[in-house]
């Protein structure tokens, strides 16, 4: 009964409105990118949820390793001087 394999998996990214970034919404199975766009349209935009669709083969996505989170993202934590709120500017100084 089993199909030896399913159609490949594509990750779907949708721009909800002009001006917004594409956002990951899920995945579809499709034989190629053309079909993946069609499937994404039917699966993820039945209620006008999008104005643009990106599809990417799931296998082509390279992700950072959660186990390395500490070394990847922790070093940014103590660089609080990068944020504007770090600086106390006297009230008298305007438009800064």
């Amino acid at each position: 009964m089993s199909d030896a394999h399913d159609w490949p998996l594509y990750e779907i990214f949708i721009r909800a409105r002009g001006g917004l970034d594409h956002k990951h919404v899920g995945s579809v199975h499709a034989v190629d990118a053309t079909m993946a766009v069609e499937h994404a349209r039917d699966v993820y935009t039945r209620r006008q949820e999008g104005v643009s669709i990106w599809v990417v083969r799931s296998g082509d996505i390279v992700a950072s390793d959660p186990a390395e989170s500490d070394s990847l993202f922790e070093p940014a934590r103590d660089k609080i001087y990068r944020h504007p709120t770090f600086y106390d500017i006297p009230k008298e100084v305007e438009t800064l």
Partner: protein
């Protein structure tokens, strides 16, 4: 939804003892306690992964099998608007199945494997879809009661600790409220309609009431694994809590329709501030889950037929894509 009661049915004993790495477990649980989401590549105990795979895939199967009883009435819907609504509704359920299979696949199981389990009769899906749809009022009753029960179950799942499942549930919950309202709208029309239509409405409530209550799964006393699922925030309320809430919401809605809930023991308990209802026929529930409900065979056969009849189509599309990839590589 469609899984809470089932979760315990098929599961082997799920114990934390199986987890070897105490430190990683501790970090995992700390994250859950802090209401942070677990994401696909994060470490998770195997029991957590297996529980989720089982729950999400059962949920997905329920959406897909659930298309059949309602799809049964698409060609016979009584107006063109009702037909459009029903197609859109059943189509949404297919979409829910797609979102959920997609969420489950992030846990390392393929959709093909999950579908094979369903077609082999090894996976469970909600017992409710093994009952027949005999009249147009059944389409109303399903939207009102079955989707209503689904919503009750699914809203807490939007806060489930597993990110992809929680996100799929948020998308699904947005769509479910249309389902429930269109169902109640059908019931309203029938309840205010001709004698024949009112009879249809009452008959549908008579047949769908008890199976709807069963959708929440076995009573808490008989449900062994709730504790771990609650601790890991896969599940946030017990079966009985949700069932009670459903009854309290639904009984006044039936009254408004002027049709009666088929339960002689139903009464309002002033002191407790909730409805008391009669004994659920758990023997029937377990029989339906085991495959002995009125339509179990039909439903699985329909899914198998669709799968088998579609094989040459899926193969053709794959062959076409392979040829064209090869051609464009050769051309490059």
């Amino acid at each position: 939804m469609y899984t809470q009661g089932l979760l315990e049915q098929g599961s082997k004993t799920v114990t934390v003892a199986a987890v070897e790495d105490a430190e990683r477990l501790q970090r995992f649980e700390a994250k859950i306690d802090a209401e942070e989401k677990i994401e696909p590549k994060d470490w998770m105990p195997d029991a957590y992964r297996q529980t989720l795979i089982r729950q999400i895939s059962q949920h997905a199967h329920s959406e897909i099998v659930g298309m059949l009883p309602e799809g049964n009435w698409i060609t016979r819907a009584p107006t063109l608007l009702r037909k459009s609504i029903l197609i859109a509704k059943v189509q949404d359920e297919g979409g829910h199945g797609a979102y959920l299979y997609s969420a489950a696949e992030t846990l390392g199981i393929s959709r093909a494997e999950m579908i094979d389990q369903l077609l082999a009769g090894k996976a469970k899906y909600s017992s409710i879809f093994n009952y027949p749809t005999l009249s147009w009022a059944d389409i109303g009753a399903i939207g009102w009661l079955v989707d209503g029960a689904a919503i009750m179950n699914q809203i807490p799942l939007c806060r489930c600790s597993y990110g992809p499942y929680a996100r799929a549930m948020i998308r699904i919950c947005k769509e479910e409220s249309f389902h429930q309202r269109q169902g109640y709208d059908i019931m309203l029309k029938l309840a205010r309609g001709t004698v024949g239509q009112r009879r249809m409405a009452q008959d549908a409530l008579d047949r769908w009431w008890w199976p709807s209550l069963m959708m929440f799964g076995p009573p808490d006393g008989a449900s062994q694994h709730t504790a771990l699922s609650v601790r890991w925030k896969i599940k946030r309320f017990t079966n009985d809590e949700l069932r009670q809430k459903f009854v309290d919401f639904t009984v006044p809605q039936a009254k408004f329709l002027d049709i009666s809930v088929p339960d002689p023991d139903m009464r309002w308990d002033e002191a407790a501030g909730q409805h008391r209802f009669g004994e659920i026929n758990w023997a029937e529930f377990h029989e339906v889950l085991k495959g002995n409900g009125p339509c179990n065979r039909e439903r699985l056969t329909a899914r198998r037929n669709a799968h088998d009849a579609g094989r040459w189509v899926r193969e053709a599309a794959a062959a076409y894509a392979a040829k064209h990839t090869a051609r464009s590589v050769a051309a490059a």
